[in-house]
């Protein structure tokens, strides 16, 4: 198909990418840019494995036509850790046993990251709502909720 130049901010860097604008952002991130942290689950908005932040808000990258990101800010899971140093939310997921197979984790963590950016001390209900678009087949959610609560608590203590 006809490629189009799209200029946007990806993980705090301005990038210029030629791709089919009807392609999903998810496909471009993985297949063109080699960012495999964002997972492909259902491909139809129902699992949240592909969650990235668009201007700080969690969205399903499988449903975003690539053309839409022109001029916008995208943040993926790759932006969280600093080399070997995990992000506090990632640490909390490890500590609380919130990762089993790990397939949902990048999406869950991005939803949590978006929540804590705007709401540093969320209630349990707010945590539940924030991850309500992310499916986990393994953990039963409890440990994930605890991990997010613990990351929030540590952040507020610092």
């Amino acid at each position: 198909m006809d490629n189009q130049e799209v200029v946007f901010t990806l993980n705090e860097e301005l990038v210029r990418v030629y791709a089919d604008p009807a392609e999903s952002l998810l496909t471009v991130l993985r297949d063109k840019l080699g960012l495999f942290g964002t997972k492909v689950g259902c491909g139809r908005g129902e699992c949240g494995a592909c969650t990235v932040l668009l201007d700080d808000q969690p969205v399903n990258s499988c449903l975003i036509p690539f053309g839409k990101v022109e001029g916008r800010r995208i943040e993926t899971i790759e932006n969280l850790s600093r080399g070997e140093e995990y992000h506090p939310i990632q640490k909390a997921f490890v500590e609380k046993g919130a990762v089993q197979c790990g397939f949902c984790s990048p999406g869950m963590i991005m939803s949590a990251h978006a929540l804590l950016k705007t709401n540093p001390q969320p209630s349990l209900q707010e945590i539940k709502t924030a991850i309500s678009g992310n499916l986990c087949r393994c953990t039963g959610y409890k440990q994930i909720e605890e991990a997010i609560a613990s990351a929030a608590e540590k952040k507020s203590r610092r």
């Binding site: 908005g45 939803s111 309500s132």
Partner: protein, 284 residues
């Protein structure tokens, strides 16, 4: 394929005019990405005309490209068009609400589209602009042309905004849905009401349930019967037993039997009227 982002309304209309038969308006693309993307996509989510949220001449004017999250977080809407807040907050998931739009929800015309149900109960109007740059307003309830279809041609028209008369002090509105999960589940039944209460009696009731027909369905007979009815438990009981009587209820292979759906229609109809009436009384 090309993806064009209109920067102003005049440019958007010119692009529509210049690409007949190939172009289609795109908003959040949560529905369109799962259908077929057009040859030329015209993204209208960056226009001031489709993203404003204001009160003008006593009416709420809500940009058609506002996202469900934006609507759900608006204080004036929560205060005076509560049914819409509740509907938008119930859609899909946070990820879907952050991109899906009000206009897209109406024009995609799913029979139980949550925001559309609330808009019809509130008596909302929709304003469209055509290729000549002329605008027209239609009641949302009159936009439906059949299953998953409206009279709006997204190849030659842009929905700019939805207009709603805010609830007065003696009015209230409410929306509820019943689904198998709290997120990412389409409703078995959803419903919304807007009521006006005077001296303990309903002066007017708008009561909408779905999915029944291709369009959100007003229970017109019941609405009429409720005019002048007292705000009492007995009236709620009557709504519960009579709501399903005037409509033909279909079974859904995926979601529920017709019998269960009839039951839910009664329960939800009574609930939304009750909640709307409580709000009307609280506000005084």
């Amino acid at each position: 394929m090309s993806y064009l982002k209109a920067l102003n309304l005049r440019q958007a209309v010119a692009l529509l005019r210049g690409n007949p038969g190939r172009i289609r308006v795109v908003a959040g693309a949560t529905d369109l990405s799962l259908q077929e993307m057009p040859q030329v996509a015209l993204d209208i989510t960056a226009l001031p005309e489709t993203t404003g949220l204001e009160t003008a001449d006593g009416f709420f004017s809500l940009g058609a490209a506002l996202t469900h999250s934006e609507i759900a977080n608006s204080h004036p809407v929560r205060h005076k068009a509560t049914a819409l807040t509740e509907a938008c907050a119930s859609i899909g998931s946070p990820q879907i609400r952050n991109v899906g739009t009000l206009g897209g929800n109406v024009i995609n015309a799913a029979p139980a589209a949550d925001a559309a149900v609330a808009l019809v109960a509130l008596g909302a109007g929709a304003v469209m602009i055509n290729l000549e740059g002329k605008t027209r307003e239609e009641a949302v309830e009159d936009l439906y042309a059949g299953f998953n279809q409206t009279i709006i041609d997204s190849g030659s028209e842009i929905m700019l905004k939805l207009v709603i008369r805010p609830c007065a002090a003696n009015e209230g509105s409410s929306f509820e849905r019943f689904a198998s999960r709290k997120a990412l589940a389409l409703p078995m039944v959803n419903g919304a009401a807007r009521v006006e209460v005077v001296d303990g009696f309903f002066r007017s009731v708008r009561l909408v349930l779905a999915p029944i027909n291709p369009a959100p369905t007003r229970l017109l007979n019941l609405e009429e019967k409720l005019q002048g009815a007292p705000v009492t438990e007995e009236t709620y009981k009557k709504i519960e037993t009579e709501a399903a009587a005037e409509v033909e209820v279909r079974a859904s292979l995926l979601r529920c039997t017709a019998q269960y759906r009839s039951h839910l229609i009664g329960v939800l109809a009574a609930r939304v009227v009750r909640k709307a009436a409580e709000r009307a009384l609280e506000r005084k």
